[in-house]
Symmetry: C2
Subunit: 482 residues, 2 copies
């Protein structure tokens, strides 16, 4: 229900659409044998269970299994496999941890799923340069474990323990973006296998300067390309020093408007804030019940400050309290104590699901200018009520990005339809407010109609031209984004 | 001497090269009349003095005047003029303040120079959203004057009072990048006139969310495109809160290596540093003589901290002193006192020129991983000595970016040749160290050969494909970057 029909929306996209093998068309004869010749028989599967497991992510989009799954072990194998698919015009779909939320891995035109999870080297860690290179099998938690004791960390945290290359492909961000940025400014270089099997280093082979002005920024182009331009087989990432001190607090507010006003004040005061998370009263109520906490069911902010001990000293915090206008502030500094406060936010998804046992969840992802956030949130809450939907809200409010965790009965077509029309309406509300239909989950399958509205025809046409220039036969993850 | 021959280096570029009108070919009959019909006669000039004034920037590249200069007053006029040039296959060159350093405005294939300086509106200032939209005639100093009293500022500072749209086109950065980033993360949206006159908003019309994951990042693609993909006719910028407190200090070191080691320690300690500028002993000596100061002629760092009063309190600074291993630390807090310390850095270019009165200057621009910086700087100093060249060094050392301010007699072909071979060798030294040939000045005319070496054939080919997709007749600033 959440997947609109996959019609392309510009002439180039129509031309592109024709080039693909197309869903249901069988793989060429002996093709699977040719795959096995590259990676070895145990690293190729056409078993239905395996294909179905690789035909969906954590979203509600209908499973679309690939025709085959391959597990390359090295970049050279990815190149050979891609060249093979390219020659035979077989669609290719990159697969990391499958934790995406917009159907990015669903093989809507069939073809070969490249499961890159077995390429998991961590290389070129340089403490002086604050950089490291990771292969697609490395998740953010695995990297941060690897970094333990070095004084450095990788802060981008989308919630799921996703593959870092997958996070780059999605343009992920999450709770720390207000201080450390999204994936884009934290990727220094990408090793990409192009659709025809050639190897591209977006910032040149072996390079990781902290900044460059040498030609078009290919790194930023491939970050957020959702697997439609090539395979990200290594990402060189920018690391950050661990903060000397961390302090967490929560504050409750009489209204959404008051919570957002506080956020703006905190940002304007240049407080060293790393995370500002918003939970609406429905979300806090769900978390209370789920975790057995006794939290006031009110609009709530979780703030986390990162800095030196001095910068987070009592007096500084006192100023933030004064800025707040909120109540119920409690500061936590020790990891355990901080963890207790964060537990509420971390359990949000499961707490939301527990509101209606047996139902499924879908997370919206709009992002709007902060000045428009209160109106958009208030209207959206009214819309939820009018639509008879359950949708507690959490938000990375420092960036204007918020999610409605819609909990619905997927077996009830009427309710699923209400979810669909609500999410489209929410997307358009965000666009009308100068925002975007997706802050961090990507376009995938579900937001392609909204993307045209967001960018306009010239914008979409420009994307299509770039896609056609780099993937002329529309073989890379076809049917996504465009 | 510094301009290598303008031969393209990939097949697509060859094809592109054929499409242009080509230097020396006259404008079509009645073409200038058609330009006048769009913008009015007073806003078109074919006078040689005007054309020569628009045929070069502040670099040493040979002046290449356009065939005509136009001054559009509104985006609709830019569109009409572009459509006219497109139909007649006349090259187009965008012009801002002409303060570039790599020949970006030189009309090497003739055509029409679009001087955009009279489009100077500042619009959509939103204090809550930390954003503002500026047209190409707005310089960074004009914007910061406009922002006075708002508590916000735009921190990217390349030295020159450049047009902000020009800074976006170049991918500029400068002294504050270590804290606030380069232009790329500070541009939220760009209003672009495409080569055929269509209007593109890179993040969609009227949008300025702080983050987005909606399709390929067109904003980052156009930032740093050096006028080769379209005209940047408005940039929506991200503003920052003014720091509550600013403290500046200088420290001298026994060696380059010690100064860089201090930089790494400062970065690792997550000190709230906004600027870390390096000056070598030749540069400090030149500044001393130029400004009548009495500074020890030694490797020197200028550090500027931005933060809350608490975070810059005495104890915090004391820690930085301890980290330093340097000597001669003096902290300045008041604007006047800080200005005195910065005067040395701000006068660097003129102090360098004063080393050899009557000579000209050219600034190199390599950027390398910080771990490689000491070796690269030491080797480069030796190379300067062996080459018999005068080239004091300044550097944005927190990013690994440094400049040799080469002061040479342009009338002496042998010396100009030594400058050319030195800069090529320096570029290759940076590439061998995992760096880039340009950190912030761009490729323009002079670094196209190095760009191929930096990106490799696949990288350059990818740039050429994008260029061909968006500017199929190679009319936008032809002969630059590719």
């Amino acid at each position: 229900m959440l997947s609109p029909p996959h019609q392309p929306r510009c002439l180039l996209a129509v031309a592109l659409g024709r080039a693909g093998v197309g869903r249901g068309r069988p793989l060429p004869p002996d093709f699977v044998e040719a795959l096995r010749a590259v990676v070895g028989a145990p690293n190729v599967s056409t078993a239905m269970a395996v294909r179905e497991q690789h035909g969906h992510d954590e979203s509600m989009h209908t499973c679309a299994p690939p025709d085959a799954v391959v597990w390359p072990q090295a970049v050279g194998q990815v190149q050979e496999l891609a060249a093979l698919c390219y020659r035979c015009r077989v669609p290719m779909v990159p697969f990391g941890t499958g934790t995406g939320l917009e159907g990015g891995v669903n093989a809507v035109q069939g073809g070969v799923c490249f499961d890159l999870s077995r390429m998991d080297a961590i290389a070129e860690l340089s403490l002086e340069d604050f950089s490291v290179a990771v292969e697609p099998g490395v998740t953010r938690k695995a990297l941060n474990s690897h970094l333990r004791g070095t004084g450095l960390w990788f802060p981008v945290d989308p919630g799921a323990d996703a593959s870092l290359c997958g996070m780059a492909a999605t343009g992920a961000s999450g709770t720390n973006a207000v201080r450390y940025g999204t994936m884009r400014p934290n990727v220094l270089n990408l090793r990409v296998v192009l659709p025809d099997g050639r190897l591209l280093h977006t910032a040149g082979p072996g390079r990781q300067p902290r900044k460059r002005a040498a030609g078009y920024d290919l790194t930023s182009l491939f970050v957020g390309s959702e697997g439609t331009l090539g395979f990200l087989t290594q990402a060189t990432l920018r690391l950050h020093p661990l903060p000397e001190a961390v302090a967490v607090t929560t504050a409750t507010f009489p209204s959404v408007r008051a919570a957002v006003a506080c956020t703006v004040q905190v940002l304007q005061a240049a407080v060293p804030v790393a995370r500002i998370e918003f939970l609406d009263e429905v979300m806090v109520g769900a978390c209370s019940r789920f975790s057995g906490l006794e939290l006031p069911a009110a609009a709530t902010l979780l703030l986390e400050l990162h800095g030196s001990r001095h910068s987070l000293a009592e007096q500084q915090r006192q100023e933030i309290v004064q800025l707040n206008g909120g109540s119920g502030l409690a500061w936590a500094e020790e990891p355990e104590e901080r963890g207790r406060l964060w537990a509420m936010r971390h359990s949000a998804w499961y707490a939301a699901l527990a509101l209606r046992p047996g139902c499924q969840g879908y997370s919206t992802d709009v992002c709007v200018p902060i000045s428009r956030l209160p109106d958009v949130v208030v209207e959206t809450k009214q819309d939820l009520q009018d639509s008879g939907l359950t949708g507690p809200m959490v938000g990375h409010v420092g960036d204007g990005n918020f999610h409605c965790l819609l909990i619905f009965d997927a077996q009830d077509p009427a309710e699923a339809q209400r979810v669909h029309t609500f999410t489209q309406r929410l997307g358009r509300r965000a666009l009308a407010a100068g925002g975007t239909c997706t802050g961090e989950h990507g376009v995938g399958l579900g937001k392609r109609a909204l993307l045209l509205e967001e960018l306009g025809q010239e914008g979409l046409d420009t994307l299509c031209r770039i896609k056609a220039a780099l993937d002329p036969h529309n073989l890379m993850n076809p049917g996504k984004v465009l």
